[in-house]
Every structure is written in structure tokens, then in C-alpha cells.
Symmetry: C2
Subunit: 395 residues, 2 copies
């Protein structure tokens, strides 16, 4: 086990969730074993031609970064970004089974009332509604059906922001990933930049790997100043081992962000407007969809429908945020690709002939896209990332 | 403000959630303002004759009691009780709008991986499925559609166990509470005892007021031994100010439980099997349904459809668990009724002529029931609890 693997483990996070997989082993796995989300019969309306899905996810430890930044600068608007993270971590997972509208959502916010005042709740909750209003203007209908906010300071140090989405969808319009096959190419959509439905430049960080990012990026003094921002059971060696304050701008001229805090808190982009168009107009050409969330660029390995090799040899140049994090943590490329999206958060598996159409469509929304790799025949499931002169193999 | 109100406040909990109400003020309140859960148009299937509901709730700080008990005794089975608490806090809320079956559920578990191992996840997740299996045998169909388990030890001290339920229901079969009127009587269902669908005697504690219960019941030594079990920002005066260990049996002969821990961890009873029968056979006679959760016996005040006075003058004698907690905390009766269910966790508002039928039906399930009060005309909304010689008025 490499030094940084152990760092990750020492911090009590896991990219692969072995214990969770074991705990859920006996549960109903749904209708399509390789689909990105579990899909079930239409229990809600009892129509064989439809499926139901229920999905839960949240902003994870990114809420702690928002807390620190808000405490330091007084800028409460970062909590709207946390609302967006919790929403997009659900929505973009649903996109990967082909669902892009007619979704119901509710939120679960667990807070320490002594540290998180009503004004923060206000920003998160009304921020969620304003994100749904924006999506509505692109034809993505998500209805906010309330939620629960609990004052549980004995459980939660600061705040946990989670959400759940439920949807019902025609069975013949779901993406099951079963069509992924040797010969397919992979169109990757950039996680960074500024889409024409976004108001601000996006760093690409997303909502995964944020425990590592926070501890690796910011300096030790945060540990004394904000003991509520980390587990006191952690070894001091892994707590806030970075070089900067959140208000520093360590990249200077190269950077689109006023400071490190804003770069790390850049809200997770949703691909809903662009994936909706692809699903509506080119459904048959989409062989598979993968959201590079937990597990980063290795996520695809979990959803391959048979023995085959995924080769990614033309990934985007990782945007500055990942370069900075790698510099701070001295992580290997292997580790970086396992934890972070590294600039590409959505993958479309498709015939080579369809790729240019998907790329043009993404570009028409202001999102960079390119063929990042392909699927080859093999006798087992594997992933090969070629990055510079390095060949990294996962299986 | 009385001494104990301030205790409650100092512990960072709130029975009335003023800040949450303010934060959600601008959101869509749904179709029926007095219904126990927010009900929305049928976004999932677009049928005017149906409504959708999405509900989130959890075991709150009861998970900390399970943690302490499990650490002290090694008895991992208490985590199945936490699964039940998270489920019933959702299900019994849905019962109050008339929904008792065809529900989809998923869970959100946020854990500190260093303290909560896979075996605990296993017990919670598979325990949830076994509760649904039991409910299935009574005609209550809840489908477990997975969920999210996140390793977020920097956010969560031990573990937060939450769940979400989504349902779709005929509009003409929802309970809106709009029929609650002067002249109605209130049939109360006991929160304690042993229903014939339960395997163990129930203390009646439920899942509300557990922050108070834990700190008021157990002794100071827990603070040093388990610093991960409470907010270090709390004043020492309000942390673990009780007299006992969890393995003590402070009530001795009077008690159905082997010790204090088991009594406090007694899983929240669901009323689903009995309320289902009432809704199926006597829908028109049910004017309103109230789950006495957060806010305890004062919960009904939020759902009265007009000016009227609720008089509760024949409540159950509070079971031993509440007597013990009151003795430890020196709380007034006023405070106890505002925080705890005090022996009655579900209220049926109905014409007097229907009451005996509802009471017999509950008793046929082994659940104690009686007319606990009535609704009277008044020029404002108020609640009067008569308890012994005391008259307690809330408005």
C-alpha cells in the first residue's frame, strides 16, 4: 500500500466502499445489474413498461470547506454551492440511467444548531429552489417536495447536506450500460470551464475527493482554529497538511478564481441540459453513461457488462485545481485518477461514428468534449490510463 | 424561560423549529395546508386524481444511545432498533395523511468509519429489510430501493441514520385534517406495551426527545469515556447529568426491561397494521390523524384547520420511562408534554360515535386505546392538557 493510499485510509474515507458493498449484498439489486443506478419495477404506478428509481447522495465533506470559507470571509453565498453539489450528485447519477426530467426531490439537513444558524439553512434551501428554477428553463423539471432539517449537534460536528431523488421512467428509455462493447469510443465531457448555462467559471473539482482536497490543500493552523472541522480521532499527520489559507491565491495568473477557497468550492457542474438533448435525439447511439464521481476515472470498471478493456489515452489535461492538489499531497498519478475526476466527469460510450455529433452538441453548450478513449476486447475487465509517458492499469 | 427550556436550548435542539420554518417559508407548501405531510400534484404519473408525497426523517440522536450501549455491552442488535426508528419516523408520518402501502424507501447513512464498522452497517441495512418483511406480512408494502452510505468522519462524530419515503396516493383517500372540528373526540393509541405484531415489550419512548433523555438519564462518566458522543461545545452543566449507567436497572420490579439502555432504545412502534385497517374500513370517520413526534403532545396545534380548542383530559398514565426521565431532569409537566409523547404517540380525531370501534380495533392488535380528549369551539387555536390537578395551556 502506497503512502497516500494509507493517507486516504487514515482519514476514514474509501473510494471503493468495500464494507458498504458487503452490507448491501443481500438487498434487491434491481432489474439491470450494470446500470449506473439501481432500477426497480414500477411500484408506484404498477405499469410494466416503466421503472422506478430512488437515489440518495449529498455534498459530503465539501460542506466543511464551505463552513471554513464562510467563517473566514463572511461570504454566505458558498452555501448555495453546497446545495448545488447535493443536487447534482443525485441528478447526474440519474442522467446516467437516462433520466433527465420529472423528478421529485427532498433534502435532509443535519446540523449543529450552535454553529450553523438559520441564515445558512435559508441559503441552502432557497438556493436549491433557485437551481431547480434554472434547470426548469432548460426543460429539466425537478420538483422540490420539502425535506427534514434536524438539530443534532451531538451527531454532526457542523452540517451534513443530503438529498434524495425519486423518478419513474419508461423502461425502453433507460440506459442500462449493457450495450457497452469493444469497438465503442468514449466521449468525455470536461468538468471545468464555463458552460453557457453557468454564471461562473468552474474549477472542475466536483464533490468527490473533498476530504483529501481539504486536508491536502490548507495549512495546519486551521486545526487549532476550527477543531469542529475534522475528526479529533485523526492522526495529526493527516490533518490539514497543505500550504495555504483559503483566502490565498496560490495559482495567481493561471487562475480563474479569486482564491483557493473559491476554487475548491466551485459547485459541481450538472450536465443535465446537454445529456437531455443527447438522450432525446440520439438515444440509440448511447451505449453507456458513466458519472466519474467516487472512484474518479476508475468508476467505469464497476459498470462494464462483460470482459473488456477500457483504454483512456486522450484525457483532458487536468485543470489547475488537480495539479495544485497533487503538488501539495505528492500523490501519484495512479492515486489522483482513483480519487478525482481529473477534468472529465461524464463519459459517453458510443459507436465511433456518433462521437463527433456528441462532441459538437457538448461544445454548443460551451462544454469541452473529446474522444478520451475506447473499449477493446479482453478476457477480463480492466482499465488502462495512458497519461504522458505513464501507463496505469486498474482491474 | 424556565430552567429546563433553557437546558433544551443549551443542548442545541428545538421542539418547534422556528428557524427551519422561516427557511422553508418560500417553498411550495403543497395542496393541503393542514395535512400532516406536504402533499403535491402527481408529478410522477401526471394523474389529477392522485397526489405525490416525499418524506424524510431519521433516528436522530437515538443512534448515539445505540452506539454507547453497543460499546458497553457488545450487543449489536440495538442497531436494528435504530433502523426501525428511522423507518417508523417516516412511515407513521405517512399514515397520518392516509398512506399505508405501496411506498418506496431508501436510506442515507453518514458514518465515521473509524468508529462504526461494517458489521454495524450490516445490522442497520439488513435490519431495515427484515422490518419491511414483517410489515409485508400485514399487507404494508414498502420497497427498499437502496440508498447511500458515506464515510464522512470529519462531518459526523459517530453515525447519522436517515431515510426517505416516496408514495403516490388517490387524492380522495388522503387525510387532510380539514375535517377536524368541534365536537370531535380524540382516540389516543398507547406508545408502550406489546402489540401482537411486536416481539418485545415497548417502553413508549419513540424517537423524539432523545437528546434530553440521553443527557438526563446517564451519568457524567460517559462524557470522559465517550467524548465522541456529544458536542464538545456544550456546557458541561448539560452533558450527561443523570444518575445511571446504561446497564443499570433503575426501575427494578416495575420494569419490563433488563436495563436502562434497553428501555431507552426500545424501537419506535409503528401503528401501520392497525391504522391500515381503520383507513380501509372507516375512512370517512377519520377526521384527522396526528403523530405525536417532535413537539410531543402539543404537535396537534400545528395541524388544526381553524380556531378551536383541543382538550386532553384523559391521557394515559405516562409509562415508567417518562417518569424516570422527569425524576432525573426535574422537568415540569408542561415541558415533558412538549418534548415527549408521554405514552400516546398517535391521535385519531373522529366523531364520538366512531370512537368505540377504533378503540376495539386497536385493542384487537394488543394496543391500548382510549378517548384521551375532545375538540371544543374557541376563538383561537389552543390546547389544554389536564393532568392530575394541573391544567396546562398551550397556544
Amino acid at each position: 500500500m502506497s503512502q497516500n493510499k494509507s493517507l486516504y485510509d487514515q482519514r476514514g474515507v474509501s473510494a471503493h466502499k468495500e464494507e458498504v458493498l458487503s452490507a448491501t449484498e443481500k438487498l434487491d439489486k434491481g432489474l439491470f445489474p450494470f446500470a449506473f443506478c439501481k432500477l426497480y419495477p414500477d411500484y408506484l404506478c404498477k405499469d410494466d413498461a416503466f421503472v422506478n428509481v430512488m437515489h440518495a447522495d449529498g455534498a459530503g465533506t465539501k460542506s466543511i470547506l464551505a463552513y471554513l470559507y464562510w467563517k473566514e470571509t463572511g461570504d454566505i453565498s458558498v452555501w448555495k454551492g453546497i446545495a448545488q453539489d447535493a443536487i447534482v450528485m443525485n441528478l447526474d447519477d440519474l442522467l446516467c440511467v437516462g433520466i433527465f426530467t420529472d423528478i421529485v426531490f427532498n433534502s435532509t439537513i443535519d446540523r449543529n444548531k450552535h454553529l450553523i444558524p438559520g441564515s445558512v439553512l435559508n441559503t441552502i434551501i432557497n438556493g436549491s429552489q433557485s437551481i431547480f428554477d434554472m434547470l426548469h428553463s432548460y426543460g429539466v423539471e425537478i420538483h422540490y417536495l420539502g425535506g427534514e432539517t434536524a438539530d443534532v449537534g451531538d451527531v454532526v460536528r457542523t452540517v451534513a447536506v443530503n438529498g434524495t431523488m425519486t423518478a419513474r421512467w419508461p423502461k425502453k428509455k433507460v440506459i442500462t450500460n449493457e450495450k457497452i462493447q469493444p469497438g465503442d469510443v468514449i466521449v468525455g465531457l470536461a468538468s471545468y470551464g464555463k458552460a453557457n448555462y453557468e454564471n461562473e467559471y468552474n474549477s472542475g473539482i466536483g464533490s468527490n475527493g473533498l476530504t483529501s482536497a481539504r486536508h491536502d490543500a490548507i495549512e495546519k493552523s486551521y486545526a487549532n482554529q476550527y477543531p469542529e472541522s475534522f475528526d479529533p480521532g485523526l492522526n495529526d499527520d493527516v490533518v490539514y497538511i497543505g500550504k495555504n489559507r483559503l483566502t490565498d491565491n496560490p495559482l495567481e495568473a493561471e487562475n480563474h478564481f479569486e482564491n483557493l477557497g473559491k476554487m475548491l468550492l466551485s459547485p459541481t457542474r450538472t450536465y443535465a441540459p446537454v445529456i437531455m438533448k443527447m438522450l432525446q435525439n440520439h438515444f440509440e447511439d448511447i451505449h453507456g453513461l458513466i458519472h466519474c464521481s467516487g472512484g474518479g476515472q476508475t468508476k467505469c470498471l464497476k459498470y462494464l457488462p462483460g470482459n473488456m478493456k477500457v483504454v483512456k489515452d486522450n484525457l483532458f489535461n487536468p485543470p489547475p485545481v488537480f495539479q495544485l492538489l497533487q503538488k501539495n499531497s505528492n500523490s501519484s498519478n495512479r492515486e489522483m485518477f482513483e480519487v478525482f475526476n481529473m477534468g472529465c466527469r461524464l463519459e459517453i460510450y458510443c459507436p465511433e461514428s456518433s462521437a463527433s455529433g456528441f462532441i459538437s452538441l457538448a461544445q454548443s453548450f460551451g462544454i469541452d468534449a473529446q474522444i478520451i478513449g475506447r473499449v477493446e476486447e479482453d478476457v477480463k475487465k480492466s482499465l488502462e490510463i495512458r497519461f504522458g509517458d505513464e501507463v496505469i492499469v486498474y482491474s
